[in-house]
Symmetry: C2
Subunit: 345 residues, 2 copies
Amino acid sequence: MADVARLAGVSAMTVSRALKGKGAVTPQTQERILRAVSDLGYVLDKSAGALSSKKTGFVSVLIPSLNNSTFSETVQGITEALDTEAMQVLIGTTGYSRAREEAVIETMLQRRPEGIIVTGGTHTPRGRTMLEQAGIPVIETWDLPAAPIDHVVGFSNAATIEDLMARLMFRGYRRIAFIEGEHGEDTRGHDRRAGYERAVEALGLERACVIEVGRPPITIEQGGGAVVRLMDTWPEVEAVICVSDLSAFGAIMECHRRGWAVPERLAIAGFGDFEIARHTWPSITTVSVGSRGLGRQAGTLMLEAVAAMRGGTPLAPRRINIPHTVIERDSTASLPRPAVAGRVA
Amino acid sequence: MADVARLAGVSAMTVSRALKGKGAVTPQTQERILRAVSDLGYVLDKSAGALSSKKTGFVSVLIPSLNNSTFSETVQGITEALDTEAMQVLIGTTGYSRAREEAVIETMLQRRPEGIIVTGGTHTPRGRTMLEQAGIPVIETWDLPAAPIDHVVGFSNAATIEDLMARLMFRGYRRIAFIEGEHGEDTRGHDRRAGYERAVEALGLERACVIEVGRPPITIEQGGGAVVRLMDTWPEVEAVICVSDLSAFGAIMECHRRGWAVPERLAIAGFGDFEIARHTWPSITTVSVGSRGLGRQAGTLMLEAVAAMRGGTPLAPRRINIPHTVIERDSTASLPRPAVAGRVA
DNA sequence: CCGTCAATTGTTATCGATACCATCGGACAG
DNA sequence: CTGTCCGATGGTATCGATAACAATTGACGG
C-alpha cells in the first residue's frame, strides 16, 4: 500500500480511504489513486485490515455435508442475504459428527468470524462453550432447541413428520412404516423418527415399523435396500415415510425394478422437498421447509445481529420458527380421497 | 495471548511456541500453558498470526455452483487432501458467470490465500491477470486449457463426449441428438457440444440435432422439456446425449410420463456420473471423470505447490490429465450388442 | 482582510501474533 | 574447575492495514 501511496503522491491513509469508497477523498485524488492501484496490480490485504479494524467481514456457516442439496440451498440463501452487505461466507462441513463439529468450530473461531451459523441444536459440551464464549452472534438452524445458545432459525423436525403422518392417515393409509439411518448422531433424523412414533400413538395406528439402514446420511441405494427389507418384514405395509427425499427416491426406483406399483402397492413419502422429488415419476410427496428461504432468513438475521454487535449492543436472542408445508404428490395418491388444493403436480 | 502468558508465568513468545506444538518447549511449561489457555477459554487468532508469518493457511476454491453434486464432490476431494496438512478451504461460487468469477477472484485474493483452484480455463482478461500476478500457485480444473495460467488438473470435455458417441454408435445407434443449455458462459457444456458435433462428422452419422433449452446449468425440468421438443423436432431420433446427468434424469422421467420406453423408443445418456445416475430406473449411461478423485489430485498437487512456494522455489507448472470412463448402463441398452465388461448394473 | 468552519489529508499508535536474535542456565568434556 | 555448546525462553521489531487525532487548506460571512 505504501508503494501505491508513493506513486499517487499521497499518504497510505488516503489510499485506504479511497479504496473504501466512503467519499472523504477528492475525485481527482481518488482517480489518481485508483490508477496507481491498477498500474501496480495492487490488491488490498483485508486480513491486515481486519486486524486493525477488528472487523473481519465474514461469517462462518457449519453444515453436515455439502452433498446434500437442501443444506447447500440453505448456504445459498445465507450467501444471498450476506452478499448484499459484502459479508463473506466461510463454509465448514462436519460430516454429521459432533466431534468433528467441535474441531471445525475451533478452527473457525481462530479466524475470528463476526458471526457463526450452525446446523442443529446439539453440540459437544466444549463446542457449546466455545460458541457461547466467542462473543459473537450464533444462529442455530434446522432445529428448535429447547435451550438455544443465542438465536434460532428453525423448525421442529418431529412436528413435520407428525403432520405428514396425519395427512397420510387422512388419505386412508393405516399401516405406515418409517425408514431411517441407524441411531447415530443425526439428531434431526432422530427427531423425525420420534415424530413418527408419536403420531402412530396419537393417531391410534396399527403398529410402528422402523427400518434402520446404514449410518446417516443414508444414500439412494440404502433407501432401495430398506424398502426391500420393509416388504419382507411387514408385507401388509401400505405406506412408508423415508427420512429424506433421497432415500425415498431410492425406494421408488427399487419398487419400479421389482414391479411394485407406487403408490398402488406401496405409497412412499420423503422429507426435504429436494429438486428430484418434484420430477421423479411418480412425483414424491414430501415436507418442504423452504431451505433456501430458511437460509435467507438466517442470513438477514445475522446481518442485523452483526450490525448490532458492531454498534456495541448485542441483539437480544431471536427465535424464528420456519413454517413447513406438506406437499402431496403422486407417490401417495392411490387411495380414494377428496380433491385437495395443496396437491402439486 | 498476553493474558495467557501472564497466567502461565511465561512470555507471549513461549505461548505461541507451545500452541504450535513444534516441541521446543519443556513438557511442564507446555502443560502449564495449555491449562492457562483452557482456563481462560483463549482461542488463537490465526489472522494475526498470518500477518506476521505470511502464511494464511488456506486455499481458495472457485466453483460454478454448490448445487451441482459433481462440483461439491470435487470440493470434498480437495478438502480431504488438504485437511491432512491443516490447510483450510475457502469456497466461492461464480454462478457460471465469468464476470462474477472476476469479482470472486478479487475478493478471494484480498484474503491472501496460499493457492487458488478455479473451475475451467476461460476467464475475463482481468481475472486472468489477477491470477497470474497473485504470486501463488493456481490450478485450473475440469478442463484442459491450451494456454494454462499455471497448473492444470482436468480433462477434455469434448473428448469425453466423442468417446460416448463412439460407444453409442458401436451399439448400433445412428440418429443421435444432443441436449444442452443455451449458448452462454458454460464453456464446459459448450466443449461437450463441440465434441458431439465433431463425432457426428467423424463417424459419418446422419445429422446433428441440438436442442438448446434455458441458460446453464439446465435443470431436471428443462431436461424433461427438451426431450419433448426433441421428439417433436426429429421423430426418427434413436438416442440422445444430455449435457449432464441431471437433465438426462429429467428426460427419462418425462419419457416415463409420456409412455416412451427408455431405451427401446429412445436411448438416453448423460454426463458426470452423479449418484442418481446409478440408481435411476433405468440406470443412466454416462461418462465418469471421478470428480472426487479429481479434487483429491488437485488438492495433493496444491499441497506440493504451496510447500514449494514456502520453500522459495515455485513448482514448475504441471498438467495432469484425468482419465474418463464411459459407463454403459440400462438407459442405452436396447439394441442388440455383444456383452461388455465395462457395463455397470 | 480576518476568523471560523468544513473538507481533505497526514501522522502516529495499534491490532495480535511470529521471526529473529539475544540471553540464560545447566550438562558435559577436558 | 572451567569453557563450550545446546536447549529453553525472553525481548524487540515487524507484518499491512485502520482508528484516532492533528494539521492544512480554502470558502465564506462579517
